[in-house]
């Protein structure tokens, strides 16, 4: 037991001494994105209470282990908070909150994808991070436009939001299935 703790401490010390700046910044980015997402999504009553500490811990965990399932868990936690806030607390679906959540969740996800393949002690070329963030920015921009248009449309067609959600959701589900099928087809070759 003691030996294993010593080994872990030794390993942590090695990791800290060898770590380079860019992978650390990427991991910091994951933690910040997901923690902000938690603060935005959960009801104000929870955020101001002591309950926020474990929530923030779960949100920060993917920064330490970006290869694990912690990222999915943290994102689902954020979504759960959003559903709780808008259903039980009956908060208004504000545009800025949806925009911020979509952006932060995607940033957390894509930075975790980068951190998962980027060793903590790597000598990183600036191109890598610039390209990655550039693509993430483009995706965020497109989805922000979509969000603004869709929420505006939903406000105008108030009452028929359910139909729009159904249609968009079905289209998305079909798209996702096709994506998965195509991928499996390619990797199976």
């Amino acid at each position: 037991m003691l030996a294993s703790i010593t080994r872990r401490l030794e390993r942590a010390r090695t990791v800290l001494s060898r770590a380079t700046l860019v992978p650390l910044l990427v991991r910091g980015g994951i933690a910040v994105s997901l923690m902000l997402a938690v603060l935005v999504s959960w009801p104000a009553s929870v955020v101001t209470s002591e309950l926020v500490v474990p929530l923030l811990a779960v949100a920060a965990y993917p920064a330490i282990a970006p290869r694990g399932r912690g990222v999915t868990a943290a994102i689902l936690l954020v979504v759960a908070g959003w559903v709780v806030d808008t259903t039980w607390e009956d908060a208004r679906i504000a545009l800025w909150r949806v925009l911020a959540l979509a952006t932060l969740l995607y940033l957390g996800h894509t930075l975790a994808a980068l951190a998962a393949v980027l060793p903590y002690d790597a000598v990183v070329s600036v191109d890598v991070v610039a390209t990655w963030l550039g693509r993430a920015g483009a995706v965020v921009l497109i989805s922000a436009v979509l969000t603004v248009v869709a929420l505006g449309l939903a406000d105008e067609l108030s009452g028929s939001a359910f139909v729009i959600a159904t249609l968009v959701g079905l289209a998305g589900a079909v798209g996702a299935t096709m994506l998965l099928t195509r991928l499996l087809h390619r990797t199976g070759n």
């Binding site: 999915t72 959003w82 559903v83 693509r135 989805s143 939001a161 159904t166 994506l179 990797t187």
Partner: protein, 454 residues
């Protein structure tokens, strides 16, 4: 029975499909990020539909859009990694220019290529212990420079290098592509060495050493009366005028000699700290052998090398700059012999060593077999000089409180062996660079001038 002999092809037939099996395509595997993308997109869309919530669908939008953008073009081939290393003559302590090149033959850009390489501990390459993360454009390449220093002689490897690629925004990753190592030859630095003393026996037809036989040469042996057959230009006019009789200057002929460098590789002792640090037995052996060979080859002598160990590698005697380069190349493969197999007698028998050769034995005199070999060489009448290559502070690792005492006893015993060797007429000298061998060569030359035979 048709009566015809059954013939079959001497070459084994190519199995069907083996060519296809040999070419296994690049293995692109989905990462956990792809699984997460699909899961979150599906889950949020289904929840949006079930709860009738547009906002949940909009939360799924970046994941779906990001996934679709990233996967619109799929990678098909694996990256190509090449290792570049210096081909030129490198001397330990000199600088090495290593490098890695990652090429992208694919139709999409590689977002992230993580390249790792291993290098020999004796090549101090900058940041070579860290992975490098780079991007590689479509149909292009990215180079990584690894400048550094070579710390010790020998054949050192740069590599193997492995590259792992993440494409499509990290949704797909390639299995590591490994490139075999590339060898770098680092030649030993030769300590300045000069021996001014005569060779004990110069045997060839031409060369730089004055022999003990009269003949055409530069070294004056004396003046003697003119005899039929003497060249006119040899007449010493001053003596002839004084004595009123023709006298000629007699000279000693110039001969070359053979030098055999016998390298004792039965054991390694001491810690090698590279060119700037402490020298181990093999370091001293190789550097001294290179220096001695360089010196005698420059003087036009024939130099041969022999390993005293189970492998018994041998380099034939030859002369000139070409032989010097061969010697350096041969020295790169000197390794400590760790096998228990004894060096066979017929390889190291005195009959294999030319009777006129000067045998310089580079030995730490740790193994008793080395002392026996030296004694037998001397007994057979070879001109033998032993160079002690054991580092001054060499001692076994401390294993018990008795270790220092045991080491002291061993040192005393070794001194005893050295003394007995000297009694048998084997001069033993500690290697100290220039002029190391002068004193002992003088002794050996004096011994050689005495009548032989026992």
């Amino acid at each position: 029975m048709s009566g015809e002999p059954l013939l079959r092809a001497a070459v084994p037939p190519v199995e069907e499909g083996s060519a296809e099996d040999a070419w296994t395509g690049p293995a692109w595997v989905p990462t956990r990020a792809l699984g997460r993308t699909v899961l979150l997109t599906g889950l949020l869309l289904v929840a949006g539909v079930a709860l009738g919530r547009v906002d949940l669908v909009l939360l799924a939008a970046p994941f779906a859009i990001g996934g679709a953008l990233a996967l619109r073009r799929m990678p098909r081939s694996a990256p190509q990694v090449t290792i570049d290393a210096d081909e030129e003559h490198l001397v330990e302590g000199g600088s090495v220019d290593g490098g890695l090149t990652v090429a992208n033959p694919d139709v999409i850009r590689y977002d992230l290529v993580v390249v790792r390489t291993r290098t020999s501990p004796w090549l101090e390459l900058e940041k070579a212990d860290r992975p490098f993360a780079v991007t590689v454009p479509v149909d292009g390449w990215t180079g990584i420079d690894l400048p550094g220093d070579a710390l010790r002689w020998g054949r050192h490897d740069v590599g193997p290098a492995a590259a792992r690629v993440a494409a499509c925004a990290g949704l797909l990753a390639c299995r590591p592509v490994v490139t075999p190592a590339r060898g770098v030859r680092v030649y030993p630095v030769t300590e300045p060495f000069a021996a001014v003393e005569a060779m004990p026996a110069a045997a060839g037809l031409v060369g730089n050493h004055r022999s003990r036989r009269p003949g055409e040469g530069g070294e004056l042996a004396g003046v003697r009366p003119f005899a039929p057959g003497d060249r006119l230009r040899r007449i010493d006019w001053r003596v002839s005028l004084r004595t009123r009789d023709l006298h000629v200057a007699a000279t000693l002929s110039d001969r070359d000699a053979e030098v055999l460098l016998l390298l004792d590789v039965l054991g390694e002792a001491g810690t090698s700290g590279g060119v700037k640090g402490t020298a181990s037995v093999l370091d001293t052996t190789v550097r001294a052998a290179a220096a001695i060979a360089e010196h005698y080859l420059k003087r036009g002598d024939r130099v041969s090398l022999l390993e005293y160990g189970a492998a018994a590698r041998r380099l034939r005697p030859a002369t000139g700059r070409r032989q010097y380069l061969t010697v350096l190349e041969w020295l790169l493969d000197v390794r400590a012999d760790v096998s228990d197999q004894a060096p066979t007698e017929h390889v190291f028998g005195a009959h294999h060593v030319s009777s006129d050769a000067l045998v310089v034995v580079l030995t730490p005199l740790v193994d008793p077999r080395s002392a026996d070999m030296l004694a037998s060489l001397t007994q057979s009448g070879r001109y033998t000089v032993a160079v002690d290559t054991l580092p001054a502070g060499a001692a076994p690792p401390q294993r018990s409180p008795w270790t220092p005492l045991a080491t002291r006893l061993w040192r005393i015993e070794r001194d005893n062996v050295l003394g007995r060797l000297r009694e048998h007429g084997v001069p033993v000298v500690t290697w100290a660079g220039a002029g190391s061998l002068d004193l002992v060569l003088r002794d050996v030359a004096r011994l050689a001038s005495a009548p032989r035979g026992r």
